[in-house]
Symmetry: C2
Subunit: 348 residues, 2 copies
Amino acid sequence: MTLKEIAAMAGVSVATVSYVLNGSAKVGEETKKKVEKIIKETGYRSNILAKSLRQNKSFLVGVIVEDITVWHTAQIIDGINEIAEEQGYNTILSNLRLLSKIESRFDHISDFQKDIDKSLDVLIGMQVDGIIYVGMHDRKVEHVLHHINKPVVYCYCYSDGEGSSVRYSNEKTMYQLTHMLIDNGHKEFGIIDGLANSEPACLRVNGVKSALNEVGIEVNETNIVRGNWTYEGGKRAAIEILSKENYPTTIIAMNDDMALGVYDAAKELGLKIPRDISVTGFDNANIVHHIAPRITTIERPLQLMGYRSMELLLDNINGKNYEDANITLPCMIIEGESIKKEDTNGKE
Amino acid sequence: MTLKEIAAMAGVSVATVSYVLNGSAKVGEETKKKVEKIIKETGYRSNILAKSLRQNKSFLVGVIVEDITVWHTAQIIDGINEIAEEQGYNTILSNLRLLSKIESRFDHISDFQKDIDKSLDVLIGMQVDGIIYVGMHDRKVEHVLHHINKPVVYCYCYSDGEGSSVRYSNEKTMYQLTHMLIDNGHKEFGIIDGLANSEPACLRVNGVKSALNEVGIEVNETNIVRGNWTYEGGKRAAIEILSKENYPTTIIAMNDDMALGVYDAAKELGLKIPRDISVTGFDNANIVHHIAPRITTIERPLQLMGYRSMELLLDNINGKNYEDANITLPCMIIEGESIKKEDTNGKE
DNA sequence: GTGAAAGCGCTAACAG
DNA sequence: CTGTTAGCGCTTTCAC
């Protein structure tokens, strides 16, 4: 079913049908009725390909995600979809599937570049109005998007010098969390760090340290142990820290998985949370709501990050803003029952 | 950058450039080299919109998902993407975002139909070659896809009479799990059911019952309690079952959340898993790997469901198969340490 | 081997 | 108010 056929059925020209469809010119009430009736009856749907081709505007945004099975990716896409729907844009998704690919050929980054180039060929070929690149880790991705002169926004990652970025705040969040702990009378801290080369881990630890510095608390370096982001690593690190004679009474883990490791370490060592030891995590993983006592943790603004990314992109597309912006959104502290509160915080 | 411009730069006709690009006719070696050089230099990317319009074939598949934030949706999309990539197809994603919408206007199903119709207008308008509809619950969805005469596959749901479907097996899986329990000497069962009107819950319970029937075990109806899919519900149900004088020694929960409820109920009642009570779940939620003893549970073949859906769709698109198929894929039993094994299963 | 030209379905001057 | 027509970028017959 095409415009031409509709026009023939209605006994008018294709232009008139187009006018009715788009309200782009004054059409007589009667003609309009007639055309609309036929459109409804036939279930006609305009060919967006032809329309976009003609108008040189697709109302299409390309979303490249490094891996859709990573938890945060779906949340971010959802945020993108929310505003896309509001503004009449559609998204074409390109899933690089890096997670499963990395397993088999870890060191061939160049292979992934080929995948990205292929994605880009498709997206640009589809005449997308702009591109959002969603990372699977919060890190710098450089020079991956070649030969584009369309607006680009990086989400959950960033790229120096090219395009805008939307991220969440690691350092400030941990700074605030640490101050909250300090305000509750906590004085002796252990830190369970992420992987050595992880930028977010580094920032989070910096946030903790800078809060502690402000109040003159020094963390013994032997109480900062890497847990490598995993449950097992967290448990091992916690045992190392808690086995000492004068172990710290508060352990700040850089994610929830490691915090759960602390839980089990504490159990094995006969320490009760939060009575003997306070613990905090990061991520607000689903699991934390199912474990008693609930972990005090950090929620990243994932859905909002998607929303803001798309907002930024659309502003750029529509010429409202040509400047690259680097947005860092605040996280939320989710209070559980895993930290000792001031009124009960005397030495027992 | 267009074909025409490339042609001008190379001093050949647009037809020749097209031939080089698609290998659709014999082109002189020298001409080919020249054209290819210019294509590479300019970073030319063919306009897929124009190509699809001309060929009346988009190599585009529409994926409508009821909600992308539901855990299984991302896995299924990943499976779809895997085979799409293999076969040179692209996907355009339409996220209905039902989860957040249902909160605000639960009873207006008609509103959602409007959303679906809008999605459909876009997808069909984009000239997709076929459509995959991914449900957020495993249930019947009827007459939601209007005015399409393209292949359709329903995934994680089904629709009587229209289109193919790909699902996982509820009944047979629970039948097998139950037999595994029986083989290990288990004789007294309690069941924690899902929601009353849930088809999967019903099928799962049927699977359990039919296995038990085969060996002549009857389940006391008072030992079948609804947990409504939630942790809290599961805990409540477990307390109800385990508080009896002669409580059953094996509890089959219809999902992992409820199974975790059983864990906490058991702890409160002073029962040890698996010594005093055996527990099984369903879903293989991430959380089960972080809780000791690991729950014996069921993994749904989510990624594969996506893969097979797309495979079915592409077969249909390419004329290899016009029959609607209804595929049910087997699940996998993930053995943990939450059930007592035969050799230790005597009464103590 | 290569090119000229028609046409996919649509929009947007322009004419009437 | 409505119709005619050029043309978006590409593929594909048909000629040469």
